[in-house]
């Protein structure tokens, strides 16, 4: 059997950077647990979460996904042209892949070893890349990118909804927060702060507290909790809208 690896080893650190938003999601979770829900710290952290999420998952992620698709496409073309060679034995793709001069500029031994290492497993990749592997990779990548856009759209939706419907946090909801004695200045600047926090909570609910892909039962139960909270807020907002309050 002819072996196939390595495969897009270059991109391992590239796509790991999707994790850049995870520390902020974890911090958001911890702040909830140490009774700092709605605090200024959580607000700043929430803003960092949203901007890092946007930069690393949407901008960087989309750009690098296109790069890896282009690289794999060119590798597939090399594979197919090697396979359709009229020779009896399939042609190796290595002559086109690895540059023979790499390492020539080195002045020390570890540099030469590091350069030689690039082609170290070339015997395993000589037949090119199997189409099924590219298809599997692209499918996983598309699902992950789709989820990133989906989660981000959920956060944007949460923010927009906040500006369309009456702000319920000036109603009875605000009292609860004041009883905790957390942030008094919320009354003045509560809209941007609440919006960021709700968006962060939305991501936590969607993405799972640990910032990884996929749905977990824990997440579902927390989504139910969040959903209940949302339902209560909605009812309060409706009530506030129906009953004209003094000064409103």
């Amino acid at each position: 059997m002819i072996l196939q690896r390595p495969f897009v080893n270059y991109y391992a650190p590239v796509f790991i950077l999707y994790e850049l938003s995870s520390p902020f999601l974890n911090i958001h979770w911890f702040l909830d647990k140490i009774e700092m829900t709605g605090s200024r710290t959580q607000w700043y952290n929430g803003m960092l979460l949203l901007s890092v999420f946007f930069c690393c998952r949407l901008v960087w992620g989309t750009w690098q996904s296109i790069m890896v698709y282009l690289d794999m496409w060119s590798a597939l073309q090399q594979t197919w042209s090697a396979a359709s060679s009229p020779l009896q034995t399939p042609v190796s793709v290595n002559a086109n892949v690895f540059r023979p001069d790499s390492g020539n500029m080195c002045i020390d031994e570890s540099c030469a070893r590091a350069n030689a290492e690039i082609a170290r497993f070339k015997d395993f990749t000589a037949t090119g890349v199997p189409t099924w592997l590219v298809v599997t990779y692209v499918t996983s990548n598309l699902i992950l990118n789709f989820l990133n856009y989906f989660w981000f759209s959920k956060m944007v939706e949460t923010v927009l909804k906040r500006f369309r419907t009456p702000d319920s946090s000036t109603g009875p909801g605000q009292k609860e927060k004041d009883q905790d004695g957390i942030v008094k200045e919320k009354l003045q600047e509560n809209i941007p702060q609440d919006v960021i926090l709700e968006a962060a909570a939305k991501l936590e609910e969607q993405e799972g507290g640990r910032g990884e892909l996929g749905l977990t039962p824990e997440q579902i139960s927390s989504a139910i909790d969040a959903g209940l909270g949302e339902e209560l807020r909605r009812r309060r907002a409706e009530l506030v809208a129906k009953v004209p309050l003094p000064g409103s």
């Binding site: 391992a12 290492e117 592997l133 507290g209 892909l213």
Partner: protein, 162 residues
């Protein structure tokens, strides 16, 4: 860039190699020690470091958490440590790995550097930890989290195994 973690002990490498080759995974023997190390490190944080340090840092909150939330807390501590660690490692390697930086189109697909293999190993080690937590606490978290852990391990192992 050569693997900054260093090569595995020869006996471990020789022991793993036949299995790795039968899984189409010739780079795995070079990083198997890092997978084990990462797994042990994350499990240590979960089982010892977080239960010891968290009540010291948060004496008002951690001891009052119920069993489920406390478990979740420990899991989040591991997740926080691993996400910071792997991001720093990945950014560092992207800046200092000159061989990686000079790769051509074909080399980006078929080439290899030990430093990039280290990143994969750290991720796989974490997802093995994640898988084991999901199996051990399947009654608490349900089958969905188990499924999630299996798929995450699969996706992050693509470079090694598939």
């Amino acid at each position: 860039m050569l693997d900054p973690f260093g090569p595995p002990p020869a006996w471990l490498r020789d022991f793993v190699e036949p299995y790795a080759l039968s899984l189409n995974s010739p780079t795995l023997p070079e990083h198997i020690h890092e997978v084990f190390f990462a797994f042990a490190f994350y499990q240590f944080i979960h089982s010892f470091l977080s239960p010891w340090l968290s009540p010291i840092l948060f004496p008002k909150h951690y001891p009052k958490l119920n069993a489920r939330t406390r478990l979740n807390w420990d899991i989040h501590v591991v997740s926080l440590v691993q996400s910071v660690l792997i991001n720093v490692a990945a950014l560092w390697i992207m800046f200092v790995d000159t061989e990686r930086g000079q790769m051509s189109t074909g080399e980006r697909v078929f080439g290899y550097t030990g430093a990039c293999g280290l990143i994969q190993a750290l991720a796989v080690g974490y997802f093995i930890y994640d898988l084991i937590v999901s199996i051990v606490h399947v009654n608490m978290f349900g089958i969905g989290l188990l499924f999630h852990a299996v798929s995450a391990l699969w996706v992050f192992s693509l470079g090694f195994v598939s």
